[in-house]
Amino acid sequence: MASPLVGIIANPASGRDIRRLVAHGTVFDNNEKTAIVRRVLLGLEAAGITRVAYMPEHDFGIVSRALSGQRLTLSAEPLSMPVLGTSADSMRAARLLAEQGAGCIISLGGDGTNRAIAKGCGAVPLVPISTGTNNVFPYFVEGTTAGLAAGFVATGCVTGQAMQRRPWLEVSVDGEPTDSALIDVVVSSVPFVGARALWDLSTIQEVVLSQVIHGTIGLSALGGALLGHAAAASAPSGMHIVLGSGGTRALAALAPGLVTWVGVATHRILSAGDVVCCRAKSGEGNPVGPFTIALDGERELELSAAARVAVRLRADGPFVVDVPSALGMAARAGYLQRS
Amino acid sequence: MAIAIRQLTYAQAINEALRIEMRRDPRVILLGEDVAGGATVTGFEEDDAWGGVLGVTKGLVNEFGRDRILDTPITEAGFVGASVGAAATGLRPVVELMFVDFFGVCWDMIFDQGAKLRYMFGGKARCPLVIRTMIGAGMGAAGQHSGCHYSVFTHMPGIKTVIPSTPADAKGLLAAAIRDDDLVVFFENKMLYGLSGEVPEGEYVIPLGKADIKREGSDITIVAISRMVQQALAAADMLAADGISVEIVDPRTLSPLDEETILNSVAKTHRLVIVDEDNPRCSAATDIAALAADKAFTELDTPIKLVTAPHTPVPFSPPLEQFYIPSPERIVATVQELMG
């Protein structure tokens, strides 16, 4: 039986969120990501991992730089795949890792990177390390700890109790499943994808959330603000929010350093399986276009006024490791002690 | 209108020129390292701010504030280049390059950008920038803080070079430099800052490109630059005791050069000595010598002699430094040799 394999997918393309010009976010630069990966590798090694496979890059080489000059007992090889320099690389790397039986995948990136990974990772659990302040899906965790936890997950000492299956949003256009989001789907009146990020509230019409958690940042923070208003849900649930006047107003941290009151016309809780149909509308309620759909905070789809968009909330998203729980399990199972 | 006359030091004269010009034209701003001093430090009196490393710009920040007197980080290429950009876009900056020896750090911005942009843009732009800088040995400041090097600047088309030797000249020439629409480098000899002299009050301008006869004579012309004017005056007193009458021509501006005054003097005395504190190769001295050899060849009774620093960096130890700087004694010896 092959020894456990852990995958590392580190996204070098940071700094594309132009909200940094209008808000106060920061991003770990690629030299810092290299340092994080070094710490991850040392954590993996300490957990007994001997095989690592990583997503190759065509320019910077975060993981290969992290490896260079290090004396590690584990072996780390780049995945054999073409490199396009786009998010498709992350998706393909995740798929390959799943096919190769990886026991865990560690990612470095934001919501967008993890969205791509989620399209390919299947049931392989993720340890998503956040490398910026504008993210909801990944979390801030120190690299060594992340490596330890991922290593114990891959060796099988840590089981499903230390993981959560996350929901996701399936996006269909004119009846065809087209794309997906992990956190939110937004209908924006901005006609072009452009610089991707959303920062002008006046252009945002509807928001569909995969879950409602307090303490997030971005449009998903509206969900937390509104949860007290709607009937409390016992099962994890999402929310559909239509912005506008005539309803209530919610205070939300929409970007790092940017907290504002947002006019909400209507909102409702969503359960798994619910479908929301949305399109961009004029003030009178007529369809307008072209408009864009943003996935996890980035404009991705440019659509005409006639396009019909349906967003389905699904419960069968990626598995995400809870690092403290994982290490707790490993400790209780005796892996952190020796006589 | 200059009426009253009083004594000021060379440093005070420069300070006064800056004050008058800054009052006169709101586009004039000062930039440089510690030109005000103590930026953003609290709890000290503005009166105690340095006003330049040797206090030449002291007190100006009290009147004009830190929006017009800008302390800069130690980034010559950055702030001298920014001064060029500001000059090309409507301001009239006076930037300080603390010691001329630092020009290597920002030379591109001076000679390849500021000096050339008017020409390269077909005359459709101008760079009304003044760069003030300290020159001169004698303070024991050693190899990287004691040079002259105005020859390098004079060599570049697009730069004007001004080298005052007295307080009155310093004030009038700095005013002219600031009002000039070209890039002017203003060389202040640090050993002259304490020199006192009569300086007219109020506004006045000494035109660039006009030399000054600092002493009239008939036997020999000495062209002297910067502090060497003072050395030549001392030498002239010693030679007068031997009955030798020395005429001292102070060019005051090297680019443009007042060729006429120099050549007229040589035509009068028929002998020429040039005293220059700079190193001898490719210097202002050799430049003026070539001019005289070309245009006053038939007037000369004796070869042109140059009294300069040696071809070395400035040494530190006092006897070595004194050896380096042309002394009145060396000037006297050179003149006596020519006079036979």
Binding site: V22, R196, A255 | V84, G85, G123, A125
Partner: protein
């Protein structure tokens, strides 16, 4: 989310604006392609450095500027000149060294300028424009009427001392300068993966007290949005920004460059993402402007380029003695 936003977002771009941006990009492309041909035919003295491929950056940024704002450029400057409104006839005449040129024939390709339109010159020194733009920003701040200075520079210049000094100065003085890094992957023949110690130039902004963002320089809307925010920020007095545009030049560092350091596959891959074709598709697919209308724009541009060349070729060379003028305003 900025609910008070001084920057006109892409949603404010009406058809006239969009067509103007398209026309400017095509003008740059055709200008450069014609210059390349004429250079190969021996008609242009000296060197030319062609901007073809990078049009979205110049146009996306300069769309937010007026004649009252300043830009500095570099050796690959034709695109910035055109985007800033320098006259085409004067530009070609300058390439040919004619007296009717923008610089009276005294500068050539690497020094084309039009100071009255705020174009402070192409520059033959890598990194030379950075302090100059910073100084223009100082003027703008002193004059207090909301002007901005934009500095275009390349990945090569991002390592120069002047880059670091200029950003530091703008950061401490909060100058209204937008530093636009045109990262086309190569400094002459040396790739960024070798010459830069960071991956993205924007990462360096953090050290200089200003925000830095990286955008797809082949996407005119991405450039337009990022530049719009940065320029609005500067006009509001909030200080400088660094925008890095990842882009690509189709031709060599200079014309005559054998370009052995890039593969045909790489060039083809970028050509397939051509910024002008992308904009064309966007406009056609949305019914904003059909292909036929855009073809007509292409033809009009062609005529203006032809006209500029006819004018310049017929224009006289300067008299030899003109070499002596315009060194100084006055001398003595």
């Amino acid at each position: 989310m900025a609910t008070k936003n001084d920057s006109p977002g892409v949603q404010a771009l009406d058809k006239a604006h969009l067509l103007h941006m398209y026309e400017q990009m095509v003008t740059i492309r055709q200008f450069e392609e014609r210059a390349g041909k004429e250079f190969a035919a021996g008609k242009i003295p000296g060197f030319v450095h062609l901007y073809a491929g990078e049009e979205a950056v110049a146009v996306g940024v300069c769309s937010h500027l007026t004649d009252d704002d300043f830009i500095t450029s570099h050796h690959r400057g034709h695109g910035h000149c055109i985007a800033k409104g320098v006259d085409l006839r004067e530009m070609v005449a300058e390439l040919l060294g004619k007296e009717a040129g923008a610089c009276r024939g005294k500068g050539g390709s690497m020094h084309i300028a039009d100071v009255h339109k705020g174009m402070l010159g192409a520059n033959g020194i890598v990194g030379g424009g950075l302090p100059l733009a910073t100084g223009a920003g100082l003027t703008a701040k002193q004059q207090g009427r909301g002007q901005v200075a934009v500095c275009f520079f390349g990945d090569g210049a991002a390592n120069q001392g002047t880059f670091h000094e200029s950003l530091n100065l703008a950061g401490i003085w909060k100058l209204p300068v937008v530093y636009v890094a045109e990262n086309n992957g190569y400094a002459e023949s040396t790739p960024v993966t070798y010459h830069m110690s960071c991956r993205d130039i924007a990462e360096r902004a953090a050290g200089y007290h200003m925000p830095g963002v990286t955008v797809d320089g082949l996407n005119i809307f991405a450039v337009y949005e990022a530049a719009g925010e940065a320029i609005a920020r500067a006009r509001r007095g909030e200080g400088p920004s660094l925008i890095e545009c990842k882009t690509y030049r189709y031709f060599g560092h200079f014309e005559g460059d054998a370009i052995t350091y890039r593969s045909k596959e790489e060039v083809d891959s970028y050509r397939s993402r051509d910024a002008i074709q992308s904009l064309r598709r966007s406009l056609a697919e949305r019914g904003i402007a059909p292909d036929t209308e855009l073809d007509a724009v292409d033809e009009q541009v062609q005529e203006r380029i032809d006209d500029a060349w006819r004018f310049a070729e017929a224009a006289p060379l300067p008299a030899p003695e003109d070499a002596l003028t315009d060194v100084y305003v006055s001398y003595p």
